[in-house]
Symmetry: C2
Subunit: 351 residues, 2 copies
């Protein structure tokens, strides 16, 4: 495969919220594609999607769909990845998987290119794209850790509805209409599709993202905790997370508290290393009310950081606010970045 | 004044979001009123408001409005309180002030009745009602501190638009309509009326509540930090806050991290003391997806606590989620509770 200049690419989950963004980015970034296959569940097969100057019919994803495919980008949910990712690898494809199916598998690199790109080199066919809320946080933590050490992270998230898929966005919009028409709001999807209870998200906040684990944390919270340690290669790092779904459509925001290892670090020091970090834009000027917001970050690829300030009691403690488009850097853009890195570094071949 | 059984009460800011709630509660709780005066700015004077079986005309608040008033409940903004609270005291009234004007004044008790009711006894005419986001947090912290000690608090808030007044609520509703009609959203009020810049709150999150201070924290964040220490009488307590405005109308939510002093405390221990705390309702059962939300807490007087869990790395660390109606326990209800306590304890007379 090495040395090819054009690649056969499959997008699994082509009609979903993240799949649609991946398809847009592959065109926009002029990804070196020979042939593209758009795959989905049986239900969505037959959908027609424009790609560059062609109209492509979405096909049902089956093991044989991956014959001849070099790179398969999966974002059709964990069960589809569990069923088909290894089938794709068997047939010679490298899989970049956007679900939680393989993220904590020791053999699977979990990668944010600006943070741990070198982990891609040791893949065995599957690479995992981290959880959206993890990606934006570790992108901001990376330069801080590298320069000042990092002992502890406590994060409270403010997460957009699109992270739960297109149906959740439609549910929010339906509830907003119901509310404005003074009708009772009805809920069938959020907080978690298929879970026992559903609550309105419009004009509300739901402190549950993904299902509850036995330890009282939600799976989303455990993803942030475990993935952050794995990506930063630091099992001794303390990470705590509270994840909350909120009534906006795009971009996750996070209120992050950190403790660094080095003494005497200033807010100016943090600004400097954040400004130098690829993929990060600092937006932080209280005098002009400059800080990132979900609406401002939407449709942008960067991770935006603001409200950087020193803890008033703890010399090594700092607080900041991180915002990024959950479907772009949090999903589709990070996936496309991984695929591009594999090509540019000649890492497509399995180890 | 002691021994009276009915009192002359003035409500200053009678047409505002909090004033309206105070008026409702005075009726609902059958507050022992002889005569009620509803006061406001010149602009709102003349408004007619039903109180029990009478229609009362709102009058412009002037120093002389307080002649003969026993209890004056202020919630018309800090500048009105600064101008008129001492005038009311001069004329014999006890003032319960719902603004930030006097909260950090050493001579002014800052009171949440379930937490530090006894501080009321030492008032000199003015009692301050704490900030909404502080009240609900300290109500939950109180029994934890009493039983297990408290070293540290880190809070990230999820605050409702009604905390910024009726105009902010109207702005959110206007922006939601603009959004649904695919028009551009216009912003003139939030994050802070009269500040330099305004951003849409609908489908967004604004990490600014009240104006920025020189230290990079917002005034709302400093209120939470300073008021918590004052109410709990503990200057050595570490408190950090990040305050965020969100697109819902009623109830603030808070993601709180605490470190207790005692070793070996369990989640069950926290549940127990929270359940015994007056004014607190525990709603916490992951198995049935039971936790408080802003919509559920709206129009209720209690502070609701859920998502109580132990930090996975720190033996004395715990996380929880606190929700309460910001206009009730966060403002009007706490104000009426203070006034009732003054009467019941014979504390109306100035010390």
């Amino acid at each position: 495969m090495t040395g090819k200049s054009l690649y056969n690419v499959a997008v699994v989950g082509a009609t979903g919220a993240v799949g649609q963004k991946i398809i847009s980015l592959l065109q926009e970034k002029k990804f070196p594609i020979n042939e593209i296959k758009l795959l989905s569940s049986k239900r969505s097969a037959g959908t027609k999607i424009r790609f560059n100057d062609k109209t492509i019919t979405v096909e049902e994803a089956t093991p044989d769909s991956f014959e001849g495919v070099d790179i398969a980008l999966f974002s059709a949910g964990g069960s589809v990845s569990k069923q088909l990712a290894k089938e794709a690898v068997k047939r010679g494809a490298v899989v970049v998987d956007n679900t939680s199916a393989f993220r904590m598998d020791e053999k699977v690199p979990l990668v944010v290119p600006e943070v741990n790109e070198e982990d891609l080199a040791r893949h065995e066919g599957i690479i995992a794209n981290p959880n959206c809320s993890t990606i934006q946080m570790v992108t901001a933590l990376k330069p801080i850790r590298d320069h000042f050490g990092l002992k502890r992270v406590i994060v409270s998230t403010y997460q957009a509805v699109s992270g739960a898929g297109n149906q959740a966005v439609e549910e929010l919009e339906k509830q907003v209409e119901q509310y404005m028409n003074k009708e009772e709001m009805t809920a069938d999807i959020l907080p978690v599709k298929g879970d026992k209870k559903h609550y309105p998200i419009a004009f509300n906040a739901l402190p549950q993202i993904d299902v509850f684990q036995d330890n009282g944390y939600t799976f989303e919270e455990m993803k942030m905790i475990n993935e952050t340690k794995k990506i930063l290669h630091d099992d001794s790092l303390s990470v705590a997370a509270t994840c909350v779904r909120l009534p906006f459509i795009t971009s996750h925001a996070e209120s992050v508290y950190i403790e660094v290892e080095k003494k005497g670090v200033t807010v100016g020091d943090l600004w400097k290393v954040l400004e130098e970090q690829p993929g990060v834009t600092v937006m932080d000027d209280p005098a002009t009310q400059t800080y990132p917001t979900p609406l401002q970050a939407a449709n942008k690829e960067d991770v935006f950081v603001g409200r950087v300030r020193k803890d008033l009691d703890h010399e090594k403690g700092f607080h900041f606010w991180v915002v990024s488009d959950n479907l772009l850097k949090g999903a589709a853009w990070n996936t496309v970045q991984i695929a591009s890195s594999l090509i540019q570094n000649n890492w497509l071949q399995k180890k």
